[in-house]
């Protein structure tokens, strides 16, 4: 009994302490205008914030750099057109370090401290399981480029996926490999969730097309050596490798394959290869010629032309982004996402997330009689004129399905030795192999 009394006494202190801390945070948040815009009062012109919630340090830092520049470029265009109903948009970075445990306090800090938070750009695939519930609770809409098929049928009104699910990437990989004449392939995926979500759908589509997976290897990332795995893959005599590996793993695996085999066999890789860290890691160890000849990436299509893309490219130049980022479909999608959210606020005539969130899909829907707009300024003018709009931005059509995912076609990307960047080739059919 005495022990229980002690516990109860301690609990009371804990409750009191917790209440004081919570109250302090609320007061601090209110004093600084922090938190979602809907809770912060209205009236007058104030700066609204897009929280860029990504890894900015560690192995996945490229996610943060991509999202940061996408957001800054979109904010540049929005602000040049007078802001969102006169409110300037600013992008503020919050570093999750790519770690779901670190992401939680960072998200809480963002929710309390960000002034008039209207949207979140992020999080990464590794952070989203821990972060999404917090954002839902705070009723702040987020836009992501997470491939995880577990979110294919989610129903959260605050979840908006700007790029297709991995479940649609895998059929594209299978379709391309089979139609290149590779009827026997070895499958090499790293054991992380992002890569593993592609293997099952790939196998079913590829074997359904008539291909044979002669060796299936799931490798742990960032090992000191993959010599045995390479020997096993080569021993199965595949015509090509199909898979996904992070930059460091790919560099080690492919350099060891080159050592053992005297060169590479064709490697059909997921969109992971088009991320900014991949080619700089792999190119020095296999050579530019081999990277452009032997490695093909299957990634979402990006037309890289037209007025929407031109506006994006100019905005990227204005914010001094790396020129290669302007060729990245994920950066283009992030830029479009911020503009789409801003236009949803214009349509709803409110910066309150709980009000404008329902208007997000309306901005890009292919409604009959809608006026196609390519830039934020065009769109605002059309909205003011009372027209129904359809925004077709830098990354092309971004039509959200009922689960908040914007599926789009995949394309074949190859590495260009002259531009030392990935260049889009043939667009693959939608739902290939089905």
């Amino acid at each position: 009994m005495e022990a229980w009394a002690m516990v109860l006494k301690r609990s009371r202190w804990l409750v009191r302490g917790g209440a004081i801390i919570t109250a302090s945070m609320v007061v601090a948040g209110c004093a600084s205008g922090g938190g979602p815009a809907g809770n912060a009062g209205s009236g007058g012109t104030f700066t609204v914030t897009a929280g860029v919630l990504h890894a900015f340090t560690g192995q996945n830092a490229f996610f943060g750099l991509n999202a940061q520049n996408a957001c800054k470029a979109a904010a540049h265009e929005i602000n040049a057109a007078g802001g969102i109903m006169g409110h300037p948009l600013t992008c503020t970075d919050f570093d999750t370090k790519g770690d779901p445990a670190d992401a939680v306090p960072v998200t809480n800090r963002m929710l309390v401290s960000a002034s008039h938070l209207v949207m979140v750009v992020g999080p990464d695939g590794s952070d989203i399981p821990s972060v999404l519930p917090l954002l839902e609770q705070a009723k702040v809409p987020e836009m992501n480029t997470v491939g995880d098929p577990r979110y294919d049928r989610q129903t959260s009104p605050d979840f908006w996926r700007l790029t297709p699910s991995d479940s649609t990437q895998a059929p594209a990989l299978a379709y391309y490999a089979y139609h290149q004449g590779f009827t026997k392939v070895a499958e090499v995926f790293t054991s992380d969730l992002s890569a593993q979500t592609t293997t099952g759908p790939f196998q079913s589509t590829y074997t359904g097309l008539g291909g044979t997976v002669v060796k299936k290897l799931t490798i742990a990332a960032d090992q000191a050596s993959y010599q045995t795995e390479v020997a096993q893959a080569l021993a199965a005599h595949p015509q090509a490798l199909v898979g996904e590996m992070d930059a460091r793993t790919a560099a080690t695996f492919l350099s060891e394959m080159r050592q053992q085999h005297g060169g590479l066999i064709p490697f059909v890789v997921t969109q992971r290869a088009t991320q900014p860290d991949w080619a700089p890691a792999v190119r020095p160890v296999i050579g530019t010629a081999s990277l452009s000849k032997d490695v093909t990436a299957i990634a979402p299509a990006l037309r890289a032309q037209g007025p929407g893309y031109n506006a994006f490219q100019q905005a990227m130049t204005s914010v001094q982004a790396n020129p290669f980022q302007a060729k990245n479909p994920f950066v283009a999608a992030g830029y479009d996402g911020v503009i789409v959210f801003a236009l949803a606020m214009d349509l709803a005539k409110s910066v309150d997330p709980s009000v404008f969130v329902k208007d997000i899909p309306k901005v890009t829907a292919a409604a009959s009689g809608a006026t196609v707009v390519r830039t934020y300024a065009q769109a605002v003018a059309a909205v003011k004129a009372g027209k129904t709009i359809r925004y077709l931005g830098a990354s092309g059509p971004m039509v959200f399905n009922q689960y908040g995912t914007a599926n789009r076609p995949y394309a074949v990307w190859s590495f260009s030795p002259s531009t030392t960047g990935w260049v889009m080739g043939q667009t693959l059919p939608a739902n290939p192999g089905q």
Binding site: T57, G58, Q59, A61, F62, L65, S191, L217, T218, I219, A220, D222, Q223, A224, S225, Y226, Q227, T228, E229, A231, Q232, A235, A247, R248, A251, T252, S255, E256, R258, Q259, Q260, G262, D277, P280, A281, V282, P284, V285
Partner: protein, 296 residues
Amino acid sequence: VSQIILSLGFGLVTASILAMGAVGFTLQFGVTNLFNLAFGESMTVAAFAAYLTRADLHWNMWLAMAGGGACGMLLSLLISRLIYLPFLQRGTTQFAMVMVTVAVSFVLKNVLQIFTGANFYSYQLPPQRPLHVLGMVFTPRQLAIIGLAAASLLGLHLLFRYTRLGKAMRATSDDPALARSVGIPTSRVVSAAWLLSGLLAGLAGVTLAMDLGTFDSNTGGSFLLVIVAAAVFGSVGEPYGAVLGALVIGIASELAAIVNPGLKDVAAFTVLVLVLLVRPEGLRSGRVQMRAGVTA
């Protein structure tokens, strides 16, 4: 069978790098009694130092490796003298010292990241024709790494066995107070241990970066766990045990990859746990000569 022999060869290369790292780690622990978790970052810094000498001074790879080794020595000595020693002189507990080494590793990694960013670097070594040796496949570069590891470890063996410094290290490790009382300058001996440990960290870091093809600011740190495992396997503080641990872990992980690549680390650490169950002090417990509470 041919696959097993192939994997044995691949395991030898990994084990050679691991052995240099594990011996460096355990040697320093043996003399100073400090579990230095910043060892991996010393490897990374040395790998970058070698990269700079190649990229800016256009040194060949072997000279660059010597530069990396020298950098490892200097860094190791500086950290020990400027950071660890003041803590030890104030009687900081062993657990707190481990936390200090963790803090040092974070500082080193993040300072390095300021300069290197999140980018990957490569020595850009030309491809080599593989050589077939007893059913195993090596490149000349890998054979050189195995040779370097063997030479380093043989050198250490000779040092411990036949030189005054080596004998002084063993005496200091065994009983520092007694060593001091017979006139051994233990402070210098400890400095020599830090230098040797730094040299091995440097060589392990550069050879690891060569073998991986590319490296970044996380490379050494991500290899630390297997280095510690090899050291623990052979009894921490016991250099010969660390070599044995490196061989077992390096080869076991490659052999496990034949069954399932996902089992690489599982096999290595299962072997470690089994050995520790049978011999909690590690494989060479009872023969340990280099373990004591030397602080200066």
